[in-house]
Symmetry: C2
Subunit: 205 residues, 2 copies
């Protein structure tokens, strides 16, 4: 059933999850589709349609239980699956992610970080030890991380991603400015494009 | 007219811009709405509808001139406006942006970077000199940067953003994990949420 759900709906699910996490923190126990929609700049009917793609989570006229709904969406997003990740490229962005991004909130654990630079190798950043890049293949083949976080220079993105996939990585979180989805048809890639949000901001100025 | 365009359409415009930039680099001169749609995972009719929101850019049965279309979308996104930006918070993420993000590609120039840490002040990162945070107000009031790039710790996000807006900043590019749009109604905020793309990837695994 999940296969038929449009990518626009899928992309809204993390936004619902984030809003519900905030509502839960604020102590809100129950929310109507109207209120949830209004917080997110959507319509109530869109919220209900989105949720109906997954069988619906609420009762008519009663609203949604915030914690239950958050948990259900978490299950849909596989946040309960205990995924593992390796990070490749411990430059500024890689270090920022290792230090400040709350992987565990989204069900991920970073089990290894890799860099070619002797200055980085051996450092422990956000509890993760940086290993030499030439140990990456063995690590991936043995530890089978679910995803790779690509924070390498753009020029190395394609080759690194292709190697990782050939070694068994099942998904790529791509922070390089190179679009990878065309080459890696069978493996999901999420490209993080900072530029798109900057252009939306530019439009709105 | 622009005011009536839905945010979903607006959010697709940077994606078109990026695809057309790649097509131009590949030497493609002309493209049909079908081909463009297929590269982006959309339908041809959606592409035509999106472009019709801006008056349409092509001729029936003839396709779009890649360079002309790219330029037209760039104008819509105000990439030709010569915007300026200040960056607040020269941690790992701030440094990554200053060093590696191609601001000029999107019509932006970073005119100042600010941090409270003596270890950062005076450094030149990606051609931008890091200044003490206590000079920020004077800088913003005098130089009138269009936007502020917020790469401060989450705890400082709200106060910093409110100050910047009171001093005259017209937009916020927010990399903290704090959602700011609710507080800053008159000033556009683009929140960059790494977690959303990680959750979409998690779903697709």
């Amino acid at each position: 059933m999940e296969k038929k759900i449009s990518s626009a709906v899928i992309r809204r699910m993390p936004r619902y999850y984030r809003q519900l996490t905030e509502l839960d923190k604020e102590g809100v126990e129950r929310i109507s589709s109207e209120m949830l929609a209004s917080r997110m700049g959507l319509t109530a009917s869109q919220v209900r349609q989105d949720f109906n793609c997954f069988g619906g989570f609420g009762q008519q006229g009663y609203g949604y239980n915030v914690q239950t709904l958050r948990k259900s969406i978490g299950v849909i997003l596989h946040i309960d699956k205990g995924h593992t990740a390796v990070l490749i490229g411990v430059g500024n962005l890689g270090r920022a992610l290792l230090r400040n991004f709350h992987f565990s909130k989204y069900g991920f654990e970073v089990t290894g970080a890799f860099d070619p630079s002797p200055a980085q190798i051996g450092r422990v950043i956000g509890e993760v030890k940086v290993r030499p890049l030439d140990e990456l293949e063995e690590f991936v083949r043995q530890k089978r991380p679910d995803i790779a976080i690509l924070t390498v220079p753009g020029g190395a993105a394609r080759e690194t991603a292709q190697q990782l996939v050939s070694w068994g990585v099942r998904g790529i979180w791509n922070f390089t400015n190179i679009d990878l989805h065309l080459e890696l048809d069978d493996v999901p890639v999420e490209n993080v494009h900072f530029s798109e949000s900057l252009m939306v901001l530019s439009y709105r100025l």
